[in-house]
């Protein structure tokens, strides 16, 4: 009987172990869940390679850290913030839209807007009817100047 109880206790423990393991496995975040966050992050070493596809050992460890944090119940925002706190804003695919970083987002549209204004003002100017064109344009004068110089050059070569 005692022996039976020992076996039962052993089996119970073993069962418990397996159950715990199975529970842990079902709670382990999948690669896809990890990659969904990793693809928005960049490690400071691997330039221009998102974390989800970076093959280095360091990036592999970062991905495992994300997995651990997800398993601990941390949200995507919390995990991202952890990496920003540790390594700075450079780990983000884009800097946050706040403070001095706003300049990064505002400058291109401002320059493009200036381009649009210049283009439409020029187009308006150009399409305005103008006074009669002088008989000989500046380009023609230039051409004649060129021809005379060219002829001079030819004479020299002869």
């Amino acid at each position: 009987m005692k022996r039976f109880l020992y076996i039962l206790a052993f089996l119970f423990l073993l069962g418990g172990l397996f159950t715990t393991n199975a529970l842990a496995q079902s709670g382990t975040p999948s690669d896809d869940e990890v990659n969904a966050i990793a693809r928005k992050l960049y490690c400071p070493v691997c330039e221009s390679t998102p974390l989800d596809v970076c093959p280095t050992q360091a990036c592999h460890e970062w991905r495992e850290l994300i997995r651990t944090m997800l398993a601990e119940g941390k949200t995507e925002a919390e995990i991202t913030q952890y990496f920003v706190d540790q390594y700075g804003a450079r780990v983000l695919a884009e800097p946050p839209k706040e403070g001095g970083f706003l300049l990064i987002y505002l400058l291109p549209p401002a320059v493009i807007l200036i381009g649009v204004i210049i283009l439409f003002r020029s187009l308006k100017e150009w399409t305005k009817p103008k006074a009669a064109v002088p008989a000989q344009s500046a380009a023609q004068v230039q051409k004649d100047d060129y021809v005379s110089r060219f002829e001079e050059e030819l004479k020299k070569q002869k």
Partner: protein, 688 residues
């Protein structure tokens, strides 16, 4: 001995270029045709000199001369001979020599043309080419010398060109080997194509500067360099496409374009070059935009040098690395000097560059081309700022930032959409004058058909509104362009009584630039289908599998069968290859073999995907990880990339289109010049 010869001949080439520069300037100042001719012959001599130097370097590379530092860095005994040759441009010093060698070749090609009609351009073209060549050769001769050798000095191994006192030559038993990522066939051709594109743009720039200095600011310089511009664009485009295919095949992240600063460095001159290709037509047809064309060609040249600087100075890793780089500050200084001098010349000649006619309508083809230029410049602003702002942030705030794909995609997507819309409208507008009514009448059928097609796609394919807008634009441009082919060929068929296909081929042959351009527009739309497919509809999953287990995605089932790992000592690689079986909706499609190649010499992995390609989609399987000994388990990442093959089909058609437009027939330089203000404005769009 050969290293000394290679370096010596390089030095002679450098000195001959300096002589040619001085002789050309002296020839102009002293009005001495003999000195200009002497300078021309000097430039002709530089190419064979640099070729000898290049052959010396190739000999050293192929024959494992590891006493030469450059040979040690980029080759190893296990590399095949063809890779040892291409290692010439696989490292900094060699690639700078390669740049200079190409420029010397192009300069020779330019200087041996017939110069009778354009003799006054000659000395200034030589001056610009010589200055560019001196800059690059100077860097090779004084800072990045590929012939530097290792010497044992006081027990230490140091790189020097010539033996320090008491030093003995040191040769390592084997070299580092070329970066394995650069051993792909696409990467073997990709850098020379980009460099060919980069260097070709020096020639239009040289003629533009010659036109500014001589004051001969009509469209002659544009006609003389039209073919150079087209070939430059061809090479640059080909280089970009090859780079995309290489990234897709080798980098193992399931994409073709990552908005990486190095990619953008090559993309920026392509943007200004494309804008230039369109805007020169306005100057040729209407005598307008002379200032703008000068600005574009100057910008393109500056961006070519800037692009080389970005990739070669180390500035992208860190601004501090740039400051420590021996060539970084020189590059920066040269770009700045180029811009300052070119701008000063432009301001000096500004009054001579006035338009010869007026712009009549906001919807004329020239106005729409201008809008096209604005859009290309807007994409350039985004790209330039995207590359420069992280550097500026690091420099001024000491805080590094990353600008990844989301930044570029959000900023450029509307600009590309607007460019696509223009591609649909501009071919229907007329030079000189168009109205909403004439444009509407020309395009309503195509627009209506595109709307119907979009509605069908909404009910049968996707409800994603971004994809639908993109596909509507694709349909519009394709229909408008095909209609243009149809309408013109039918008109010729009726007028000449020819068979439709004869009429079409003669029509296209008579106006290669126009119809080559239309082929390019069609190819762009095919590429847009591929880009929309992968950007919007790409799906992926990753998982660790035991043998016999499977992953499923978009109807595909990928089942892990086996894995093998074996070294190839001769090649210096360890291959780890998995075999997976692929099923689609239960039907067996075959096996794929994703693998990881580990290169012993450089201690680097290369991830080669297993791919199954159809016109509908690509199944792209990557081996991520595996159990070392038993191989019982392995981790795979799989992507389904819908429509991506249209990107490659479009790329091929794109190259055909450029070749068609650039193929030599009648030399544009021999065409009669546009007669300026006296010319009547042609109204019909088909008249060009």
């Amino acid at each position: 001995m050969l290293a000394e010869f290679g370096y010596g001949i390089l030095l002679v080439g450098f000195l001959v270029t300096v002589y040619s520069l001085i002789a050309a300037i002296y020839g102009v100042m002293d009005k001495s045709a003999a000195m200009v001719e002497s300078s021309r012959r000097g430039m002709l001599l530089v190419f064979p000199l640099l070729s000898l130097s290049a052959v010396s370097l190739i000999y050293l590379l192929v024959n494992n001369h590891f006493e030469v530092a450059f040979v040690y860095e980029v080759t190893s005994r296990s590399m095949p001979t063809y890779l040892k040759v291409t290692a010439w441009w696989g490292g900094q010093a060699g690639s700078l020599l390669f740049w200079a060698w190409l420029l010397a070749a192009f300069t020779s090609a330019v200087t041996i043309r017939k110069w009778e009609r354009d003799i006054e351009f000659l000395p200034w073209v030589i001056v610009v080419n010589a200055i560019t060549l001196i800059f690059f050769l100077g860097m090779v001769v004084f800072y990045e010398n590929p012939f530097t050798r290792f010497w044992v000095v006081g027990g230490n191994v140091e790189p020097h060109m010539f033996a320090p006192a008491g030093a003995t030559l040191f040769a390592a038993p084997d070299g580092n080997g070329l970066n394995p990522l650069l051993r792909h066939p696409g990467m073997v051709i990709h850098p020379p194509m980009l460099y060919l594109g980069f260097v070709s743009y020096v020639i239009p720039f040289a003629f533009a500067i010659a036109a500014l200095i001589t004051g001969r600011t009509d469209d002659r310089w544009i006609r003389l360099t039209r073919r150079w511009s087209l070939w430059a664009w061809l090479f640059l485009s080909f280089g970009l496409v090859l780079g995309g295919r290489w990234a897709y095949d080798v980098l193992g992240w399931g994409g073709y374009w990552g908005w990486d600063p190095v990619e953008i460095a090559a993309f920026m001159p392509w943007l200004t070059g494309t804008a230039f290709l369109h805007s020169v037509m306005i100057q040729e047809k209407r005598g307008l935009l002379k200032h703008w064309n000068m600005i574009l060609v100057i910008l393109t040249y500056a961006l070519v040098v800037f692009g080389t600087f970005l990739t070669r100075s180390g500035v992208l890793s860190s601004v501090h690395a740039f400051a420590n780089s021996p060539i970084g500050p020189f590059f920066m200084g040269y770009v700045a000097l180029t811009l300052v001098v070119s701008t000063a010349l432009l301001i000096w000649r500004w009054p001579l560059l006035q338009g010869e006619t007026e712009m009549k309508s906001m919807l004329s083809r020239e106005a729409l081309f201008l809008l096209n230029n604005l859009l290309f410049m807007s994409v350039l602003v985004v790209c330039f700022w995207g590359v420069v702002s992280p550097l500026a942030s690091e420099l001024f705030t000491n805080q590094k930032v990353t600008l990844g794909p989301p930044f570029y995609e959000r900023a450029t997507a509307p600009l590309f959409a607007a460019l696509m819309f223009l591609m649909g409208v501009a071919p229907l507008s007329a030079w000189g004058h168009s109205t909403v009514t004439t444009l509407g009448r020309a395009m309503w059928k195509s627009a209506l058909a595109a709307v119907v097609l979009t509605i069908v796609l909404f009910f049968t394919y996707t409800q994603n509104y971004i994809a639908l807008i993109g596909l509507f634009l694709v349909a519009l441009v394709l229909l408008v362009t095909l209609q243009e082919f149809w309408r013109a060929a039918r008109a010729r068929q009726r007028a000449q009584g020819e068979n439709f296909f004869v009429a079409l081929s003669r029509l296209m042959g008579r106006n290669r630039r126009r119809y080559g351009g239309y082929i390019i527009h069609i190819s762009m739309m095919l590429m847009a289908i591929g880009i929309l497919g992968i950007e919007i509809f790409q799906t992926e999953t990753q998982g660790a599998l035991a043998q016999g287990e499977e992953l499923t995605l978009e109807g595909y089932t990928v089942q892990y069968r086996e894995l093998a790992s074996w070294p190839d000592e001769g090649e210096g690689v360890n291959y780890t290859r998995a075999v997976v079986d692929v099923y689609k909706n239960g039907i067996y499609l075959g096996e794929l073999t994703p693998r990881i190649d580990y290169y012993f010499d450089s201690q680097q992995n290369m991830t080669i995907p297993g791919q199954r390609s159809t016109l509908k989609d690509d199944l792209y399987v990557l081996l991520v990880d595996w159990e070392d000994v038993s191989h019982a388990g392995a981790t795979f990442k799989i992507f389904v990339n819908p429509l991506v093959n249209w990107l490659w089909i479009g790329s091929l058609l794109f190259l055909i289109g450029i070749l068609f437009a650039a193929w030599p027939d009648r030399d544009p330089a021999e065409e009669p010049a546009r007669s300026g203000a006296s010319r009547n404005v042609r109204q019909a769009s088909s008249a060009d």
